[in-house]
Each structure stands twice: as structure tokens, then as C-alpha cells.
Amino acid sequence: MINLTIDGKQVQAESGMTILQAAKANGIEIPTFCYDPALSKAGACRICVVEVEGARLLAAACVAPIYEGMVVHTNSEKVQKSRRINLELLWANHNQDCLTCEKAGECKLQELCYKYGVTESRFEGKKRNLPIFDDNPFYIRDYNKCINCGKCIRACQEIQINETYDFVDRGFNTHPDTAYRVDLMAKESPCVFCGNCVAVCPTGALTSKINRGTFRTWEVEKKVKTTCTYCGCGCGLELNVIGNKVVRVTPDLSGTTPNEHGALCTKGRFGFDFINREDRLTNPLIKENGKFRKASWEEALDLIASKLKGIADVNGGNSLMFLSSARTTNEENYLMQKLSRAVFKTNNVDHCARL
């Protein structure tokens, strides 16, 4: 363990930790933009700078390692001033449309400007003037709101491993983009619309098109934890609900699900519109005389059980075949083969993922 002083408090932290980690472990929050525990480090946004006694420069807390006897000030006047100017610089090169921005309420830039009292910028002038890319069903890319944290690039490279983006151009013109600046639907683009870039974006630069303009982030009443039903991976989801309606899906970041870093795929993240559809089946139907009628689960299951049992009694278990689905969990698939083998004594069991 390493002994150090953070904001006048004597604290201990594990060797190898960064200032950011040591501070967090001791209940001290340092703001970040480009840092994400799931991604490699960039040390680029400089909003997490802190003062280390004896050092000429401010240190980026997200990458600076701690050492024995270190004395850190995370909120000194010098630090606050640097952060305020940093925010003024970002704000000056931003299209400042918080009123209608999809990200309002969850935007890191908005949050920190509020926290540091940045109501306007002394550095207003030219702004990026880049086209908005939205020629696809899922996202809108508006780099005029981008702060160049680069998390979208790293999420695509390191989580999805699709390498869709990199920074292009240099200096003031630098921004993330695809190869040849094509839209994500173009044949040159390897994008699979997993949405992991959208999920890590701290501002409104990358936003989802699904339910766009129909709700504000702060209107979400509850987030219901559930398991994605699209495949057997079992990714943890949070269904964001307003008035009994699912308005969006965010990943379960509790760290207890198979998608540890909150990675999701395009289906799990964007394919939830069926939940609220009026033509969705919500109870079993039994066909009688060529017509379906509503039934209870008990009735339906009893019917299936009696039919299966009847067939097995007459023709033997091997006359049956059990096929389960990738959209159910591993546990459910296990139960399916148990039903097949133990109850009906047949090995005729398979799974759609094999087909």
C-alpha cells in the first residue's frame, strides 16, 4: 500500500493505481471526459488535471501513477482555473444547442459547465462546421458537438473490435470519422451498429435515432434490470421506462453480467420496439376450427403436455423432436434438453443456433 495525501486527507491506496483510482477509492471524485475504465487510456482531455506538490505541470489524474508521500490537490484554485478554461475552450467550439439536444441531462459537458459555473466562453470564434451523418437507421453523428475524447474510436477498436473509426485531420480540424469519411452504411464501413460508440459518447455527438425527440433523459421513471432475450449470451440490460413504456435500452453496468463493460449488440440495444407494439402476442393462442382463440398459460401448457404425452405413449419418445431457441437463456436450454431426455427419453434435441 502507498501512503499519500489527497486534499489534505492522509489516505492509502494500492501500488500501481493512478491518482484518479486512488482518489475514487477514498471517496474523492475527479471529473473526466476521455477516461473509461473499460478502455485503454488516452490522457487527452486534460479535464482531470490535479496539482501535485513539487511538480511544475498539472498532472492528468487518469494516467498519473501515485507514489509514496505524494501530496495531491484535486480542487485547488489552479486546478479549478485550468478546468474552467478547458470547458470554455470546448464550449466555444460547440454548437450550444442544449435546448433540443438529445443528450441534455446526461451530457458530461453540460454537467461540468454547470458544476464549474461556465455560463459562457471568452474564446468564442470559429467553430467546426462538419456535415451531420445520419444516412442510417440507428445513429446520428454530429461532430460539431464532439470534444475529441476519442472514446468512440477506442470502444470500436477495443470492445467491438470493428475498427470503424479513427481520428482524421489534424489540429483544430481533428475529429473522429470513418475511413474515407463515408457514412456508416457505406460498403467501405465495417460498422455493425452495435451502438457501443454511442453509449460511451459523453456529449451529443453520437446519439441514437430510436425514439429520438419523444422523451427527455430525466423523464425516465425507472430502469428495469433484465436479461437480453435475443441470444444465449445473457447480456444485462436496463429497460428505461416512462409510463409503462420502454423508451430505450441501456446496459447493466453493475459488473455482474456477462457483458461486463456494458457492451451490447445492435439487437439488444435498439431492437426493443416490439415490447410496446399493439400486435405483440401477450398470451397463448389455441387454434380451434381453423381460428385462434386466447387461452391462459395453464390451459395451453396442459394441452401441450397432453398432446406430447399422447404421441409418446403411442409412438414412443423418439417420435418427438425438441428444438430450442438461441433467444432463451442457457438455463432454459438446459431445461429443454432435460425435458427431452429425462421426461420423454429421447435424444432428439437440438438448437436453432446449430442450424
Binding site: 477498436q157 475498427e163 470503424t164 473509426y165 479513427d166 481520428f167 482524421v168 485531420d169 489534424r170 470519422d177 470513418t178 475511413a179 474515407y180 469519411r181 467501405e188 465495417p190
Partner: protein, 153 residues
């Protein structure tokens, strides 16, 4: 394999550098030397051949000012605008070039013979003002000298 199409030349260059560490920038240099610029199909061939994501190839290409993704001209004029050339009056040399060729910075002449752009220091500061045409540096320029120089192309 034929070697008449430009893209075949790109493939040949990529083959030559395959397996070498950090090959991308040398390959971009070599291809640009061959084709004059770096068109999209060349970048695609490089990305596939060196097994580097296309986004990275493109991002790297757009970072460096010596690389161009668009066709410029037969001869590229780079006028140094750094401190010593500023103090020694590059502005007059630039004006002379613009006047002589009837183009602005960032433009090519109609006959695609010259393309004009600015550059940072060329490292001949004691003989400012200086310009570079293609890979040769010319120093101690005056408006008259630069006009004569252009005429020699």
C-alpha cells in the same frame, strides 16, 4: 501479374514492405511518389495488404501535410511561411507566384502544371525566403528570381 495499372504498382509496393514493422508511412511515401497522390483505391489496397484497419490508414494519411488524398498537379510549390521567411519577406515572393501562375494558395493552375501551398520551416533559414518545388529547395528568393524559376519548369 501485369504492371500497367496504377493499382498493380501499389500492390507491388505493399508486397515489398510486407512484414516490416511500422511500414505504413514508408508505403504511403512510396505510393504517393508513384501516383502523385493517395487515391482511395490505393489506400484500400494498402490497408488490405498491410492488414491495417482502413480507418487507421485514412486517419494517418490525413494527419501528415506531405500526404494528399487529392490529385494536385505535376509540380507542387510549397512556400515557407515560418518566422525567418516571414521576417525576410516571403509575402512578396508568394504574391509573385500567385500573380505569375494566376492561382491562389490551395489551387492548381488550369493546365495542372503547378499547385501552390504553404509549408512550415524548410530548414534553410539563413537564406530566407525559401520555397520548395517538389523535393528541391530554392533559397534567397525575390519576386524576380521566383518568376524566372517558375519559367524554367
Amino acid at each position: 501479374m501485369g504492371c500497367c495499372q496504377p493499382i498493380d504498382k501499389v500492390t507491388a509496393i505493399v508486397e515489398q514492405y510486407k512484414g516490416e514493422k511500422g511500414a505504413l508511412i514508408p508505403v504511403l511515401h512510396a505510393v504517393q511518389k508513384e501516383l502523385g497522390y493517395l487515391p482511395k483505391d490505393a489506400l484500400e489496397t494498402i490497408a488490405a495488404g498491410l492488414n491495417i484497419p482502413a480507418s487507421e490508414v485514412y486517419g494517418t494519411t490525413t494527419f501528415y501535410t506531405l500526404f494528399s488524398t487529392k490529385e494536385k498537379a505535376e509540380n507542387i510549390i510549397r512556400v515557407c511561411e515560418s518566422g525567418p521567411c516571414h521576417v525576410s519577406g516571403y509575402q512578396k515572393v508568394l504574391e509573385a507566384i500567385k500573380e505569375e501562375l494566376n492561382i491562389e494558395v490551395g489551387e492548381a493552375t488550369e493546365d495542372k502544371k503547378f499547385y501552390l501551398e504553404m509549408t512550415a520551416c524548410l530548414g534553410v533559414c539563413a537564406e530566407a525566403p525559401a520555397i520548395m518545388i517538389n523535393d528541391k529547395t530554392y533559397v534567397n528568393l525575390t519576386p524576380e528570381k521566383v518568376k524566372a524559376l517558375l519559367a524554367s519548369f
